[in-house]
Symmetry: C2
Subunit: 252 residues, 2 copies
Amino acid sequence: MNARPQPPNSTPVGDAGNSARNGDAPGGVAPPARIAQTALYLEVAERLRQSIFAHELAPGDWVDEQALAADYGISRTPLREALKVLATEGLVTLKPRRGCYVTEVSEQDLDDIFPLMAMLEGRSAWEAARKCQPEDLARLEEIHARLESYAAANQVDLFFEANQDFHRLIQELSGNRWLLQLAQDLRKVLKLTRMYSLTVDGRLQQAMAEHQVIMAALRQRDADAAEAAMRDHLLAGRKALARPLGARPPAA
Amino acid sequence: MNARPQPPNSTPVGDAGNSARNGDAPGGVAPPARIAQTALYLEVAERLRQSIFAHELAPGDWVDEQALAADYGISRTPLREALKVLATEGLVTLKPRRGCYVTEVSEQDLDDIFPLMAMLEGRSAWEAARKCQPEDLARLEEIHARLESYAAANQVDLFFEANQDFHRLIQELSGNRWLLQLAQDLRKVLKLTRMYSLTVDGRLQQAMAEHQVIMAALRQRDADAAEAAMRDHLLAGRKALARPLGARPPAA
DNA sequence: CTTGATAATACTGTATCCATAATTATGAAT
DNA sequence: ATTCATAATTATGGATACAGTATTATCAAG
C-alpha cells in the first residue's frame, strides 16, 4: 500500500495496445525533436508491427536487436521493451538466450482463430446493434460506401484498409473495451498471414454481399441478425483463405 | 529477410504469458544460483502478478520501481520490462512520465468482461466436449471431486484454487491455444477483484450444482449442452458478484 | 574426407548511469 | 491567511557498459 507521487485521479484502466505513430524518416536517426508525450517503446512497438505486417520482417525471421536499434537511431532498451510487448501480443516469439523471431502462423492456428474471431466480432455486432446511434450508423454507411467503390474498382489494398476500419468501428460501437481489445489482439495475429483471401476470384464482391446483410441488420437494430451475419461473414473469410494459402506472391 | 543465428527450427508460436516461478527468498537478493533457463523479466512478471492478485499491490496503488527492484534484489531494467508485459495484459496502467499504477476494475468492466468470459469459456466447453478423451474426463472428475469436498468443508481458498484448475483444464482440453490465451488474459483481470462472490451465502453450493450440469454434459459429450451450461455458470457468477461488491473485508 | 572437440565471436540479458520532466515544498506577494 | 510562482527533489525514460551463454568456425584426429 503506497501512493507517493499521487493516487491516480480515478482513471479507471489503461489502454494496453496503443497505436502511437510518428512520421519519422524511416531510415534516419531521431532528432531531438522528440517532445512526444507517447512513450518511445510504444512508438517502436507500432513501428515493428507495421514492419511485420508489411512482411519487411517476415514470419520466421530473426529480429536483430542491435541492427534494428541502430536503424531506428535508438538504444536497445526501448526496443527490447517493445519486443516484450509484441511477444505478449503473440506477434513475435522470445526464446531465452536465443533471440527474437517473428511468429509463424500455421493452418491449425487459422482454424483455431477464425471461429474465435467470428464469436468476438459477432458479439461486437450484437452489442453494436443495440447501442449504436444514428450518427454512428452514418459513419458506418460512409465506410460501407467507400468499400463499395473500392470493390467495384478492384482496389484491393484500399478495400483491405477500409475493411479494417469497418470492423473496428463496429467493435468500438459495441462500447465494450475488453471485447475491442481481444478482437484486435487476434486481428494482429491474423494480419501476419497477409490475408490474401481478398485477392481471390470474387471474394471482394462476396464480402460486400455479406456486409450488406450486416448493415441491413444494424439499420433495423436487429442484434441477433447482426451477430449471425457477422459470424457468417468471418467464417466465410476463413473458407476463402483456405484454398490459396502458401502459393500467393505479394503482387506489389 | 535475415536469419543469422539460426532459423527457428519450425517452432510455430510462442506462449505469451508464461508462468515461471522460482523459490527465491521473498526479500533476499538473488544469489548466483540462477542457472535459470527462464528469463528474469518473466519471473518478475509472475511475481508481480501474484502480488497484485494477493492485493499486496492493490488496485490504484502506485508501483514504486526502485523500491520494488531493491526489494527483489534486481535492477530496474528487468522490472520495467515485466511492467510493460503486465501493462499489455491490462493488470497495470503505465502513464508516461508519471509512473505505473495497478489497474482498477469498475463495475462497468465487470459487466463487459463476464459476458465475454461466458462466451469464451462456453466455447471452450463446446470444443472440450468434442475432443476430450476418457483420461481427460478422469482428470476433470478428480478436480470435480476435490471441489465437492472443499465446498462441503467450506474451504473457500482451496475451492477457489481448484475452481481455477477446473476451468483452466477445460480450456486446455479445447485444444485451442488462442482460446486459452484470451480466456486467461481476461481471468487475470477478473482476479483483480478477488472474486468475493464465492464467499457469499450459498454460492459454493450453487456453483457446484452448475458444475454438475457441465460435467454431465461433458460425460455425454454433448457439446451444445456443455457450452450452454458453462455460459450459464459464468453469468450466474456475475450475478453473485453483483450484490456484495465494495463492502467485503479480506477476512483473512 | 568426415567427425568431433575447442576456441573465438557475437548476441542476449542485466546493471549502472545520465538527462528530462513532474511533483512538492518553500517563500513571497496580494 | 491564502494563493501563486519558483526552486529543489525525485522518479521515470533512455543510453551505455558489462557479464554470461550460445553459436560458429577452425583445427586435429580417426
